[in-house]
Subunit: 162 residues, 2 copies
Amino acid sequence: MAEVQNGSGAEEKASTVAFTAVKPWLVVDAPKASDAVQFYKTAFGAEELSRVMHPKRKADHEIPLVLSAELRIGSAIIVVSDLIDDSSATVKSAVTGGVICLETEDIEAALAQAVDAGATTEGEISEGEDACCRGRVGKVKDPYGNIWLICSPSKKCADVEA
Amino acid sequence: MAEVQNGSGAEEKASTVAFTAVKPWLVVDAPKASDAVQFYKTAFGAEELSRVMHPKRKADHEIPLVLSAELRIGSAIIVVSDLIDDSSATVKSAVTGGVICLETEDIEAALAQAVDAGATTEGEISEGEDACCRGRVGKVKDPYGNIWLICSPSKKCADVEA
């Protein structure tokens, strides 16, 4: 496999750090995080595990802001938060608009459920050619600027994750 | 738990779709995806599972572009791609700059390894208060505009993921 080395001189060291969880974090324009959480429940069957609100409601906030909410989709966890630029926010400078790939055996049902919840389709279902989505893949954009790829499970991925 | 209902009327339907994998997808400014993959190997011990290149090298591309590369960090998979705006790209309109939370027992070692690889620290290690990072949390920004939260495992998360 052709690889571009970055010449940092550090690439020969093996990582000595073990990571026990990897969670994508979606930052949405405040104060839409509450709505986004509800949307992900409806669109993707997400289960809300916990939510921490902003410690105080500022005068210019009509509704309380979400510091972070943890959602479970399948066996994975994602985090959703309002974009808050003060010292209480763990993530304060991120741009909004992420991309998450969801694998499912039933792409049509998943897309229909997401659109029914308010997502918009982006193009047609196609044959994916990339490393993540070698089978069929559809795309939706949620009302909060994030893109969701709905893919059939790739054999390679399934082998790895089994 | 206080919840804001969005009034769509659809929230009472249980999801009938099962999702078997959730993969955050990081889009970086072309042609930096190859460098980013190498960085994630060095910084986070990522293992490259597969890579698909852009089908043809355009005249104005000095190095080939990455349609997508799958990397394993711990037991999770992330996808990295160059931002490519043509029909071959699965993700072509995403903004760059994502946020991913990594849990580890050894935050100091993880931060040191990431910084040694070229990441920049964002603030000090602090006591997290949000739903994802209730223990200690440090932050780095990678050279490609993505933010990585390095957190101690939260008990609640560990219970869920066990």
